[in-house]
Amino acid sequence: MTTDPRRERLDELLTLQAIEGLSPDEVRELNQLLELLPGEDKESLELAAAALHLAFSPPPETMPSSVAEKLYTAAIQFMPRPVVSPATLTTRVGWLSWSGWAVAATLLIALLYTQWPRPAMAPNPPSLAELRDQLKPRAAEFVGQKNQVIATIVWSDQEQIGYMEVKGLPPIDPQAGTYQLWIVDGERPQGSPPVDGGVFRVNPDGTVLVPIRPPIQVKKAAAFAITRETDPGGVVVSQVKPEDYEVVLTKKG
């Protein structure tokens, strides 16, 4: 154990920082001590607390599709807008295929400086339907129908991205449960549970269009299924029997 009172106080502050956070006075004191005791890592105990948090945590719960959608929108806004030349002014550029940020940022600044037309600088972020349509040429299509429910999914194993559109799925009370998407990975051993594709809700008219980004890699999507789960946050492994699936989607053509 350390005997230097300054070092002990430093560890005390680093511990407090990792667990409860510091007041402005404590931050100042911590910085002063770090100057006096060079070589100490300011984040070392925060990293230790983070590792412990991971040790204590159960498997992460799937992020609801509504939250994921907001996050992807934020990502689009965070990333620089694609910059197009006047000759290709009407061409939409897929946001996943943008060139490096540095180039985009430099060109964007140049365009702003020279006051080029606004549409060339900041086109609206693409809608989910547009993003799906852009993905289609590089993806496989899955379709399914059961009673009045019709579902289509455009999915790319390569990019690990997909979009699901459903019609005819009755809305359910969020407190009573949720719909959940499952992905059958053809590369997994026989009998493996399907991969969680996320939970989602439908609009009052029974339709929904949501992005699919599974938490783990799906090597080769063979089919998709939608279940109705009674846990509002979704489940890790569904107990719903296959005959009770809302709909199963298989590869088109």
Binding site: D11, E12, L14, T15, A18, I19, E20, G21, D41, E43, S44, L45, E46, L47, A48, A49, A50, A51, L52, H53, L54, A55, F56, S57, P58, P59, P60, E61, T62, M63, P64, S66, V67, A68, K70, L71, Y72, A74, A75, F78, M79, W95, L96, W98, S99, G100, W101, A102, Q158, E159, Q160, I161, R213, P214, P215, I216, Q217, V236
Partner: protein
């Protein structure tokens, strides 16, 4: 394609495809952290966005030699969530623990997360039961020193010592085992 290469490093290098991949890889982790810290879904939604924007803006600060990516992202998320609670002037609400305790993350999908959990759990297993319990209450349940003292009946000084010793032990273990990847 999802791989094992650090997405933060790729974001810092200007790879735009790394941004959505960062969400795909760590969305569930950050969402679960926010839900545990904040309890209510609306706050958690805002917080998740704050955390990711912070990560993207400061991606260049991530050093793979110091810590693995899941641990670093958990650290940033915890920091933002703790700040958020402090600003709101609220104390962390203790939530019931799940059945899983140490090693409860063993079913995590990401091998990286399993690896981090294993190192930290190994360090904790070297501590006494009372120390482990205090650390769990502090780190995972987010209880303050005072709340832990009131719950366990231990003097506050002992609570502080247990937490500090525990974190230092984990720090040593991570540094010996190589926190980075």
């Amino acid at each position: 394609m999802i791989g094992t290469e650090s997405v933060l490093t790729r974001i810092a290098a200007g790879d735009p495809t790394a941004v959505p991949e960062c969400i795909a890889r760590y969305g569930a982790l950050v969402w679960s952290l926010a839900r545990r810290f904040l309890g209510n879904t609306t706050d958690a939604e805002d917080a998740v966005q704050d955390v990711f924007i912070d990560l993207w803006k400061n991606a260049a600060r991530y050093d793979p030699a110091r810590a693995s990516e899941p641990t670093y992202i958990t650290m940033i998320a915890r920091r933002r969530l703790i700040d958020r609670k402090r600003r709101a002037g609220r104390t962390v609400t203790a939530q019931p623990l799940p059945e899983e305790t140490i090693g409860g993350g063993g079913n995590n999908s990401h091998l990286e997360i399993q690896d981090e959990a294993a190192k930290a759990a190994a360090a904790l297993n070297e501590l006494r039961e009372e120390e482990r319990r205090v650390i769990q209450m502090a780190v995972y349940q987010g209880l303050t020193h005072e709340e832990i003292a009131a719950t366990t009946g231990l003097p506050i000084g002992t609570v502080k010592t247990h937490i500090r010793r525990g974190l230092i032990r984990v720090r040593e273990r991570l540094s010996v085992g190589g926190g980075g990847r």
